[in-house]
Subunit: 130 residues, 3 copies
């Protein structure tokens, strides 16, 4: 019940990028009740002129390693759970691939559970509760 | 009143990709009251390390043909209409370009009608109802 | 408190693309109370078969210069402010890089202020108001 899009500057090796997606998945498992194998994630790499960031917004010193993470999820979590997710994502990405926590930007987009079809043309979260 | 983003692994020929967008448009026309010519759609192709999916989540067997479809629409449809959209998208994509229905993941992001400008700097859906 | 994604056909020079992001930032500063240095923006360039648009939807004549702009923001603005943003974006992009106003499509996705982490694993807009 999540769709994750990561945007970053191009130039990082495949192992770095794969580690980002693995760490994001683990952080969601640990804090957001994401079931096993519920991982649908993409990275888009951008050239420098296609990727702009505020280097000091809110007093946080960002670098070209910055990842912009947009996670679309169902609207079933409260503030404390979101704070736990943000903290755990930053910790996990600091461990692997070794991002600075300042270089982790996260945005959640929330949707209704009925807004998902995970295959076969069905709205799985409607059928389950109906 | 829709903006559609498709993410998939790279390597499919142009005709395959164009067929995906054509079928999506037809399914929206048939089930979601999308007006003629209301089609604003992109595909982003990803390298393998930038595209990760749960191969069996919810018991659905997915393959590398998987398409992750995120459709931003105004919040004017109910559950039954969303279910009809999901079913029709899967049917249309099975017909052309020939996707397995298990390889069709769909997520709707809903916004207010006032959140769109279709050109010329105007909020067309505000002016229409005002 | 915004994350901006621009989709366009590939082939424009870096200066054109950078001007789009600069103009978007200025328009948001002028009409949407976006703080200085709050700019997190990407452009994704698409091949022709991966970028489809309604050339005349709502009677607006679009060209291959079309930019599809999706801005995720906190849900703190009213209709008039959104209309001002749309108008200013079209004006700014007409000035630089010189887009026709018909070629500017904008969609806002609104989220809760608590749905953002701008770095260091914190939900900055929760802590600020808490």
């Amino acid at each position: 019940m999540q769709l994750t899009r990561v945007s970053m500057l191009s130039g990082k090796p495949p192992g770095w990028r794969r580690a980002i997606l693995d760490s994001l998945y683990l952080a969601m498992r640990e804090t957001f009740n994401v079931p096993e194998d519920d991982r649908f994630m993409t990275i888009t790499e951008h050239e420098r002129d296609d990727f702009v960031y505020g280097a000091d917004y809110l007093g946080i010193a960002r670098s070209d390693d910055l990842v912009m993470i947009q996670i679309t999820v169902s609207n079933t979590r409260g503030v404390a759970q979101k704070q736990a997710l943000f903290a755990r994502i930053a910790e996990r990405l600091a461990q692997s691939p070794g991002l600075r926590k300042e270089d982790v930007l996260i945005n959640l987009v929330e949707t209704l559970p009925e807004n998902w079809s995970f295959g076969s043309g069905l709205a799985q979260y409607v059928e389950k509760s109906g």
